[in-house]
Symmetry: C2
Subunit: 467 residues, 2 copies
Amino acid sequence: MKAQIFSFIILWSLSCKTVTFAQSNQANDSIIIRQFYDAALMQGKCYQWLDYLSNQIGGRLSGSPQAQRAVQWAKMVMDTLKFDKVYLQEVMVPYWVRGKKEEGKIISKKFGKVDVHVCALGNSVGTDKKGVTAQVIEVRALNELEKLGKEKIEGKIVFYNRPMEPRNINTFVSYGQAVDQRALGASEAAKYDAVGVIVRSMTLAHDDHPHTGSLRYDTALKKLPAVAISTNDADKLSEMLKRDPELKFYFKTDCRMMGEVLSYNVIGEIRGTLYPNEIILVGGHLDAWDNGDGAHDDGAGCVHAIESLRLFQVLGIRPKRTLRAVLFMNEENGLRGGLKYAEAAARNSNERHIAAIESDAGGFTPRGFGFSCENKNTLSKMLKYVKYFKPYGLHEFKEGGGGADISPLKNHQKEIVLIGYIPDSQRYFDYHHAEIDIFANVNRRELELGAGSIAALLYLLSEYGTE
Amino acid sequence: MKAQIFSFIILWSLSCKTVTFAQSNQANDSIIIRQFYDAALMQGKCYQWLDYLSNQIGGRLSGSPQAQRAVQWAKMVMDTLKFDKVYLQEVMVPYWVRGKKEEGKIISKKFGKVDVHVCALGNSVGTDKKGVTAQVIEVRALNELEKLGKEKIEGKIVFYNRPMEPRNINTFVSYGQAVDQRALGASEAAKYDAVGVIVRSMTLAHDDHPHTGSLRYDTALKKLPAVAISTNDADKLSEMLKRDPELKFYFKTDCRMMGEVLSYNVIGEIRGTLYPNEIILVGGHLDAWDNGDGAHDDGAGCVHAIESLRLFQVLGIRPKRTLRAVLFMNEENGLRGGLKYAEAAARNSNERHIAAIESDAGGFTPRGFGFSCENKNTLSKMLKYVKYFKPYGLHEFKEGGGGADISPLKNHQKEIVLIGYIPDSQRYFDYHHAEIDIFANVNRRELELGAGSIAALLYLLSEYGTE
């Protein structure tokens, strides 16, 4: 009995110590996280970097001279910061050019000629010099084409007009539900001998901006030219089709694929003090559509990645694990940068990627992070970190998350935690892939709070790992 | 023993029923709340109303012809909706006019003459026709004046230049910490025989827009003319003062108080079916500063109030308690509407206000509600409602909240719950009281989600009361 009491006391005092130690650790971490946010808001650089990237370089599609300038600029920024290692990783990328500005017109005997706002979809072939002029068949879903059959589609332009669903609170869900029209619509229409494709812009806004974005051709099928049409004009076309089903649509595009060219991922890192071979990646993508300035998509993610490392320097904190900022090339129309990075990482047996955060959802007020990993204990550990972030308005720590560029890492590193940064999603698709994705539509504080949030999570990951 | 078992079974089955009933109620409420959000996003009217109020009426300071038009418009909207009762409540308001556009200039022997962006503070007296020209003394806080004394202040312009604190995550906290300069600075400076006042604009942005807002004169002291200066120009002036302390500042304003005129609160209600004498108020303020269009401040709150009642009509839900939308007049420079409403409510012994929600923090993504009430059980009941709102991104249900217009109700109705609607605060002060508080800076979905959130809370309040 005495022995029992004795061991109980021992156990009790040990558990007290653990609690006290954990509590003091937690208090200390809370203080450090506060410092990350303070530094992001008071000494932030990401807003001025984004100004330069958006306004001095602008749209920077893979392979373009602007993309090349962005690569040099990003390397220069990281060199200047004296990260422990800064380098370029070669990657071959497709080089697609838009050419001359697109034209689009409704031609109706009933209503006359009506100009509409269109832009070529990325990777699309262009029309010939006369453009395409044909009757229009409107559908809401890819699988309607099979029901309509070749008879009703042959020689026509297929008009995909399913709107993004406004009722989803997370607008990315609506995007995911609608984007098959843009990505796969051209090849689906080619099966039935259509001559061109119009896709309703992927946005919840009602306005006059066409939103581009990539399509993927099935190489076994004819490549049809495809354009996005603004939502206002999509509604107009749909309405006019009801009253004049015989109307024709004309569009002309000058775009073409120029082949493959050499480009780069831009990489910079701060080496870990205790576990330098454990890599925690933070990334965004450097390429951006040519019609806007790629401020939210994904200039924000690029400056988040660099800034979150710089904040460690500002605070004089050496991370225990290696932090690596990766600005990927070619997310928009090929994902070559992400694939190349993952392949190289798989070949490097000296390193182990334990976590990767991607910021590719815009520079809006931070709301949380999403986590994908196989180990349930790891997930549980990650989700508990929400307690540190609630004071900063981040409540959404949830299962499921990542990003396009970091997703190939999963193929080679099973135990990796893929993490998606979650900012407020309400405005994102207003700007996404459109000419209004410009610096003026980014709010400084919202952007900076994102950098602070990502840096704070990097800190916890580098201190405590993922196991 | 048997009897005990029997009563245990009875109790157990009763408790099961209670649980089941509560669960089914909760499930049902969740469905109805989903319907409110769906209707707000799919059949919303608030965005088009705000378009009209901002772009067709615009700035509408108390007493102005625009304010009068806004009163008529708001009544017309509610009449058209066929609310059970729509009426105007008379209220005498101060009528302050800005007059001709303001001028501001730094005059330095070292740097020459530099134009700066200023605007008169609301309620300020104007300068004479020659304007005010004097040396400048810069301070960061009201209490510095006492230390400086009359000797150093007499004949000078006092320049209040304490910035809003960027580190607060909730920007309203920073506003509260800085706004004494604007509200009380002129009279404080008058104590020491200053000749005018410049106040750094109340914003966290670094830009060229001066932000107006009201000051309050101590009637026992001389009324000094006061202007706000843009944050960029405040920094410029401060920097130049360091290098040339003898520089002079010139400003000219044409503003004046025109006396009191008759105006109105605009009120519309849907009568409760079970407890018609229990009033749940939802309000915003109809007056707005003259330099912008008052889109966020507080056009958003006005259309939220009307829309949240209309959503009950859309869904065909008759509230158990009376819902009353009140668009208050004169929040910005007098609060006469809020005071008048509360006095009238106190005299009406047939009614009891059980809750009042104010939306006066802009039309941004909803984040939660703040509750002020004396009864701890009531507070606890309110805070638990967060569970219904988390799926829509609202996590901040917290103690403390209300709004300027509804605050006087507390004096007469001790048991009332005052509720402040909490949207994301990051961008609010960028626009607040400045010429860029315009419709184009309001996002449709963010505005509509606010209306859905407020309607959903009104529903819970009207179903279950506050006790």
